[in-house]
Symmetry: C2
Subunit: 206 residues, 2 copies
């Protein structure tokens, strides 16, 4: 899917096919956010003015391009997770045995469809931590790009969280629900705080 | 550029080439938001439960796919606008005449580079108005997708606004600055209000 053209990808999103869904779109927007932090870092490296930060920024670049790749992979993985749920919905439910099998498979599919957007949240928070560390140490002429990156990462985080929330409503394993809910809430709180901090610093600097 | 694969487009964004910049990324995220509203509408049309809204949703679909197309075009247009500024930066400035010519061309280029993100803001607000009108009248099983769409449109709006702001700082024509600033602020206020309203409704419904 990520081999499709941007134009075609948008048309697939717009179609009545429910996949790719909100998790995949969130992963894409997160990947845009990561890519944009890379651009800002790339515009910083080699500049005399930012020589002191050079080693840190080069380290950041390695990490952020890894996260960009992982978020891009999560576009596909979320779509796979979504398709697994759709497959279970097509399973027969005529006998008690079929019903039990279908129920069991649905629980598995929903757990997977929850863990993928939790993974998207983890990656966006990782990128936001790098953002915070780089604050004030990257090329100031790319300040608005830093802001756009933080905005994208926040939307990816909140969008993935909506998908965690919606999938958890169908899961009966209370321990799993509690663990994932707490994990997602922590990521949401930390990531939102970091994104808002970066955005605020950008606004003050413009 | 929008003919590139998603993967390749992300790598172009991440590179040290300053274009595509924040306006283009905002237009892309806005196009994702528009595409996602289309998906939600496509998942509503033809469903017995939403028959009353059918005509309205079909009308919305036509409009939103037009806005998706326009936002996709704005990815390229913002990059063109950015490149025009870069070209002026390369103009000679040895004589007084050259300096004056360069200054004049820079003002033109910056005005264009402001108007493109203002256009991105206009389109995202148009899509958000459609969102508000469709609230509660689209397929409720795609509620989280409605939320992701609103989040993307808000980020596109705020991201484009950062780019308006940064380009306005270099423009000497006070009337132009005042007009565009007021226009952008109005769009930001209306769009933020609409996006927050949709997102809040989604959260309550999940």
């Amino acid at each position: 899917m990520v081999e499709s053209s941007v134009e075609h990808f948008l048309d697939i999103l717009a179609s009545k096919e429910p996949a790719p869904g909100g998790g995949a779109a969130s992963a894409l927007v997160g990947a845009v956010g990561a890519a944009f932090l890379s651009m800002v870092a790339n515009l910083t490296v080699g500049k005399e003015k930012y020589k002191e930060s050079e080693a840190m920024i080069e380290e950041l670049l390695k990490k952020v391009s890894m996260f960009q790749k992982e978020l891009t992979d999560l576009i596909e993985e979320d779509t796979n997770a979504f398709n697994k749920v759709s497959e279970v919905l097509k399973m027969p439910k005529n006998t008690e045995a079929e019903k039990a099998k279908r129920k069991e498979k649905m629980q598995e599919a929903l757990k997977y469809a929850t863990q993928v957007p939790v993974g998207i949240m983890e990656k966006t928070v990782e990128v936001l931590r790098l953002h915070e560390r780089a604050l004030g140490r990257t090329n100031q002429s790319a300040l608005s790009d830093t802001g756009v990156s933080a905005l994208c990462l926040k939307t990816a985080l909140e969008g993935a969280w909506l998908n965690v929330k919606v999938n958890l409503t169908g899961i009966t394993d209370k321990d799993f629900v509690k663990t994932q809910e707490e994990k997602a809430q922590k990521l949401l709180d930390e990531g939102t705080m970091l994104a808002d901090k970066v955005y605020k610093a950008v606004l003050q600097g413009l």
